[in-house]
């Protein structure tokens, strides 16, 4: 078993209203950041897990996302990185 650090991004599904992203974008405009076209706010999860291999770690994480970490109705997830620690 090796310990892996896995980073996961969970983001609101496209097309769904993202009031949080909109509020942040508006605020950035008010602060003078005129170049901001859009903002989306999601979650960044960092898991440390014990797994047999990198692909095992990835698969476990993918399961966790399907079951718990992301809301299947409103969110998409992506495994951003997996690395041994």
């Amino acid at each position: 078993m090796t310990r892996y650090r896995v980073a996961v991004h969970v983001v609101p599904r496209r097309g769904l209203l993202d009031p949080q992203g909109k509020a942040v974008a508006d605020a950035l405009h008010t602060l003078g950041f005129a170049g901001v076209a859009s903002v989306h706010v999601g979650r960044h999860l960092v898991l440390e897990i014990d797994a047999h291999s990198e692909s095992d770690a990835r698969e476990q994480t993918s399961n966790m996302c399907g079951r718990l970490l992301a809301n299947p109705v409103t969110e998409d997830f992506e495994i951003a990185s997996v690395s041994a620690v």
Partner: protein, 766 residues
């Protein structure tokens, strides 16, 4: 004007018609009304407006039978909310609405947007929301999925109301396997307005501009159009979201802006874009005013590019309103919205021609003759027949059910009932709701009804939702009568005179004769009770097709009652407070145990007739109780409902956890009744009162012909609830009662400290 199909619109085929949920008769009706084949846009419009949700096609004929008038009813059914006068030139607008199906799919957003919708229904009347309530039904908490739905709905309701800043003051939660897979989420809102500021959603004034206000329109929740999104789009769009996401922050701004608009005199009508969005709000406002309208979908502010008229008309994006302004006042309207960082776009106009017309720039994409679009909708009175299974269940001799060995000690049974999530304290729920914001909540959740004071007067309103679905399942007429009576009793226990109700009819598929029978009977029973208790129906909502794989949910006609307390001095709480007070039972005990929580929880049996509801007795009870309260002789009043007299007494000694008391009770007078019926039977028209002046209470009761008896004394010193029945002496410690009652739900939810819970916690933005 000639209506032309848009390039790229699908051809109208029988399959497309069927996918839009129209029967062939309904389609023929549409063709006859138009005198031609509809366009795709028109088909979409009609599928939405003639849907059950918008048209009430299976329920309207029944609803017409309900009593709706009283001298103080300013607005009955038909508007966004009902309105009653409460004196001092003030009025209360209130309404309940369901969000059952969205909540089953996505509990957090489903419940949240339900709250958003009902808030808008109330503030469009010109009323400032002052209280929210909710009535919830879930399957058994033993299931992880149910815990997820329960936690999600509660959090969704809380986050939305809390953010908008409206206190959630009362409600009910029932857990029963009958709701597995199809939870019920009904939200009620109560608002306060000055009588002269009442605003109706009636379009009028040829040339007046129609303005879309609030959030932009996206592709969310396009009604009945799931197939269309697949047909019309590439693969990525096939995932087009059907859930709506709520934005309570925008709602708060919309609330303030709408009230400012209404008070400004610049507008003549306003309505929220709820179910079937723009099309239903514009068509309904036009129909009420009997005027024509034209809408240009190119002018609707859209969240995404390339949205079709079909999509823009049917989208159910949240936090939007439709306004009819006075001509020439557009800039004033815009200025008010800008102040609140919201946008306003003129998207149409009231016209002289009696048509409902939708254009996309120069092209007319839909046009219907006059208000027939709304009024020509089909109405159905399907066959009604009671299910044999239910008849059999009702007739079952429940007295023959043998007691379990543990019941030898009825205090075991009492603790079991208090641990039932349906009876146990709902603090886990309402602690997540801000119930103190707006500094009006005199009695918050945890007692019988909630009490909200009316500022600048000495009055208050009392609010509660109620319904026992098991009763309605076993006898829909009696169940609905009891729902009204129980809500009225709860309101009276706090010192309120029951005034009027709103209601939410949650039923299964009305095309099944046994379901339509339930609906018909329940509406009849509700009408009888409202008539007898003098509480007209001022509005409501119908939610049909609540089914799970095992069949329909229990028929659940939820009643939302508003009562008036004429002086703050009369506000009465439910729990005992003062040593030495006498305990008086108003009403009588019977041997009824049918349909009880006792049978369900202890014997897993759903059978027997629900307790008899004698409406004259209920009315007399309410009158007697209010008279005693107003005479100042009632220290506390708590009605007997789920779990019967023993549960009511237990609640009286420990429902306020901070100040538990105790009591000695003697029920020997009823020693002839089966003990389980006496303690746990759910006979109606009973209230437990504590009083320093029992004679005065008994005199009030006698005056109204209400049976009454002194049954005991409040006393905290012993730390016990003790009950004597003839030779039998039953005792249980108040601490144990309190722990069982208050910790039951937290313990269950903790056990699952769950997956589910966490998903929600990390989910939500708040």
């Amino acid at each position: 004007m000639t209506v032309t199909a848009r390039p790229g619109d699908p051809a109208i085929t029988p399959a497309l018609v069927a996918e839009h949920g129209l029967t062939s008769d309904e389609y023929d009706r549409l063709v006859a009304m138009l005198g031609r084949t509809p366009t795709f846009t028109e088909l979409g419009i009609v599928s939405a407006l003639w849907s059950e949700h918008c048209s009430y096609k299976h329920s309207r004929p029944l609803l017409k039978t309900l009593p709706t008038t009283a001298p103080y009813v300013l607005q009955g059914p038909g508007e966004n909310a009902g309105v009653i006068a409460i004196g001092h030139g003030l009025a209360i607008a209130f309404k309940i609405e369901s969000h059952n199906h969205p909540s089953a799919v996505e509990p957090y957003q489903g419940a949240a947007t339900g709250v958003g919708g009902i808030l808008r229904d109330v503030f469009t009347m010109g009323a400032r929301p002052i209280a929210l309530l909710n009535s919830l039904r879930f399957g058994s908490l033993d299931s992880a999925r149910v815990r997820y739905l329960f936690a999600g709905c509660v959090k969704g309701i809380g986050d939305y109301g809390n953010c908008v800043g409206i206190p959630t003051v009362a409600g009910e939660v029932v857990f029963d396997p009958a709701y597995e897979g199809n939870p019920l989420v009904n939200a009620m809102c109560v608002g306060l307005l000055k009588e002269e500021e009442l605003m109706l959603a009636v379009a009028q004034g040829v040339g007046n501009p129609i303005i879309a206000v609030g959030a932009r329109t996206g592709r969310d929740g396009i009604h009945g159009a799931s197939f269309a999104s697949e047909d019309l789009s590439d693969a990525s769009e096939a995932k087009r979201p059907r859930v709506q996401v709520g934005d309570p922050f925008t709602e708060k701004l919309l609330l303030e802006a709408s009230l400012e608009l209404i008070h400004s005199g610049h507008i003549v009508a306003i309505q929220d874009m709820g179910a079937a969005g723009l099309v239903s709000s514009s068509a309904e406002m036009a129909a009420r005013g009997d005027v024509g309208v034209v809408i240009d979908t190119l002018k609707v502010p859209a969240r995404e590019e390339g949205m079709s008229p079909y999509e823009l008309l049917l989208s159910e994006s949240q936090e939007r309103m439709l306004v009819v302004a006075r001509v020439g006042r557009e800039d004033h309207v815009r200025a008010i919205l800008e102040k609140w960082d919201l946008t306003a776009a003129v998207i149409g106009e009231v016209i002289a021609e009696p048509v409902y017309r939708v254009v996309e720039g120069d092209r007319v994409v839909a046009e219907f003759p006059g208000i027939r679009l709304v009024t020509d909708c089909p109405m159905y009175t399907p066959e009604a027949r009671e299910s044999d299974d239910i008849k059999r269940r009702r007739a079952e001799n429940v007295h023959a059910i043998a007691e379990r060995a543990e019941e030898a000690n009825p205090m075991w049974t009492l603790l079991e009932l208090l641990a039932s999530p349906t009876i146990a304290s709902k603090r886990w729920v309402y602690q997540q709701y801000d119930h103190t914001v707006r500094t009006g909540t005199v009695v918050g959740p945890g007692g019988d009804a909630a009490v909200v004071r009316i500022r600048h007067t000495d009055t208050a309103i009392a609010l509660k939702t109620d319904c026992n679905g098991r009763y309605a399942f076993l006898d829909p007429r009696e169940g609905a009568r009891i729902a009204v009576a129980e809500a009225a009793r709860n309101v009276a226990c706090t010192g309120g005179r029951p005034m009027a109700i709103t209601n939410n009819l949650n039923f299964g598929n009305p095309k099944r004769p046994e379901v339509y029978y339930q609906l018909k009977e329940a509406v009849a029973g509700m009408g009888e009770a409202c008539l007898a208790l003098g509480t007209p129906v001022t509005g409501g909502n119908v939610s049909l097709y609540n089914e799970n794989p095992a069949g329909a949910v229990y028929p659940t006609p939820v009643v939302g009652m508003v009562g008036l307390i004429d002086s703050l001095a009369h506000v009465t709480r439910s729990h005992f407070s003062t040593d030495g007070d006498s305990i008086v039972l108003l009403g009588n005990n019977t041997d009824e145990i049918g349909a009880s929580e006792y049978l369900q929880r202890i014997h897993n049996v759903v059978a027997g007739a629900p307790p008899h509801c004698d409406l004259a007795a209920e009315r007399a009870l309410i009158d007697a109780l209010l008279q005693a309260i107003q005479a100042g002789v009632v220290r506390s009043a708590h009605d007997c409902a789920d779990g019967g007299l023993a549960v009511a007494l237990a609640e009286c000694v420990m429902m306020d956890r901070a100040t538990p008391t105790g009591a000695h009770v003697d029920l020997t007078h009823w020693a002839g009744l089966p003990v389980r019926a006496l303690l746990f039977g759910e006979a109606q028209a009973r209230v437990v009162v504590s009083t320093p002046d029992p004679d005065a209470v008994l005199a009030s009761a006698a005056e109204h012909g209400v049976p009454a008896a002194i049954i005991g004394t409040v006393g905290a010193a012993s730390g016990l609830l003790s009950m004597r029945i003839g030779e039998r002496q039953l005792t249980v410690s108040v601490a144990e009662l309190a722990d069982t009652y208050h910790e039951a739900i937290p313990r269950i939810m903790q056990r699952s400290a769950s997956a589910q819970d966490v998903a929600l916690a990390s989910d939500s933005v708040v």
